[in-house]
């Protein structure tokens, strides 16, 4: 039991080692940039260009899924 719990604690610690401060900041910047792109579509592009109005919703959903992937994969350590 003791060996197993040591192994678990070690494995958990190893999971965290792959996320450095640099990579955390990089993911945060990606999340902020994607949100900014969503706002550009919502407040500038969609009201201005009639032709893209019908494709903005799929764009929002794709961007949202990408943000969700970044949070789950990196912040919640599922990628490692």
């Amino acid at each position: 039991m003791s060996t197993e719990s040591s192994h678990i604690a070690h494995a958990d610690a190893e999971h965290g080692e792959t996320m450095t401060r640099g990579s955390i900041v990089r993911i945060a910047i990606y999340l902020s940039l994607i949100t900014a792109v969503e706002f550009i579509f919502a407040l500038i592009l969609a009201p201005q260009y009639e032709s893209i109005r019908h494709i903005v919703n799929p764009i929002y959903i794709v961007l949202t899924l990408f943000k969700a992937f970044l949070i789950v994969a990196y912040f919640m350590h599922l990628k490692f």
Binding site: M1, S5, E17, T20, Y60
Partner: protein
């Protein structure tokens, strides 16, 4: 980095005594994932209900017309700015939380404390913003079972006729879903405060592992994850 496991952590792993632990994950951490999965189903059902009602309605209040105030600064004319600030606060608090987890892996107690405190502050800021937004919408006439008068409602249905049913659905779903999410944020803030106190008391240092910080971190990131979807479906789409 210390990988020593104290007696108390060994006791916590006893549920796996019957065999190998799935995915080599500590018991509490796997249980947190199970809880988050069940919570994800709850939020999914709420958002699917929202989607079903929204897309079966002939008209729906326009988000950029409903949410165009920055409470305390601008009454109107700033569409989605306030929710942008809220989203940025929550993303930042998720970053401070993951930095606390990273510091925990290095057993850096002081850093864990500061990042946890920053996360708590972020949580309070988000809740404050949500309270302001709720009170603003309530002031405009939206609440559970209540919608603004027709002259006001017309502003939110720009270019299409007023639909009282969808306005009611919008109000009910908005307060239910953002309220349920806000309750999660509130709970997360309370848990984060408790964990921060434990960090200050040196509880996890004595255990030789800051795994508990990682577990509450999972919950906090989940709250951020849910907001990403709420933000898209309520404010953008």
């Amino acid at each position: 980095m210390s990988t020593a496991v104290s007696e108390i952590d060994e006791v916590k792993t006893t549920p796996w005594a019957g065999g190998r632990s799935p995915f080599s994950v500590e018991y509490g951490k796997l249980m947190m994932w199970f809880f988050l999965l069940s919570d994800a189903f709850t939020f999914s059902s709420l958002l699917i209900s929202y989607g079903a009602l929204r897309f079966s309605a002939t008209s729906w209040p326009a988000a950029d017309k409903v949410f165009q105030s920055v409470p305390g600064m601008y009454e109107s004319g700033k569409p989605l700015v306030f929710v942008g600030i809220m989203t940025f606060i929550l993303i930042l608090s998720s970053v401070t939380m993951v930095l606390a987890v990273e510091a925990g892996h290095r057993m850096a107690k002081k850093e864990v404390t500061w990042w946890m405190l920053a996360t708590v502050v972020g949580g309070f800021m988000f809740l404050g913003c949500q309270a302001l937004e709720w009170s603003h919408l309530h002031g405009e006439g939206f609440w559970w079972g209540s919608i603004p008068v027709d002259s006001k409602l017309q502003e939110f249905f720009e270019g299409v006729g007023i639909n009282h049913v969808s306005a009611h659905q919008f109000a009910n779903l908005f307060f239910t879903i953002t309220g349920f999410h806000g309750f999660h944020v509130f709970t997360g803030v309370i848990i984060n405060i408790v964990i921060t106190i434990n960090v200050l008391l040196g509880t996890y240092e004595k255990r030789g592992s800051y795994l508990m910080v990682e577990k509450v971190g999972l919950y906090w990131h989940f709250v951020d994850l849910v907001w990403v979807f709420v933000f898209t479906f309520f404010y953008l789409v």
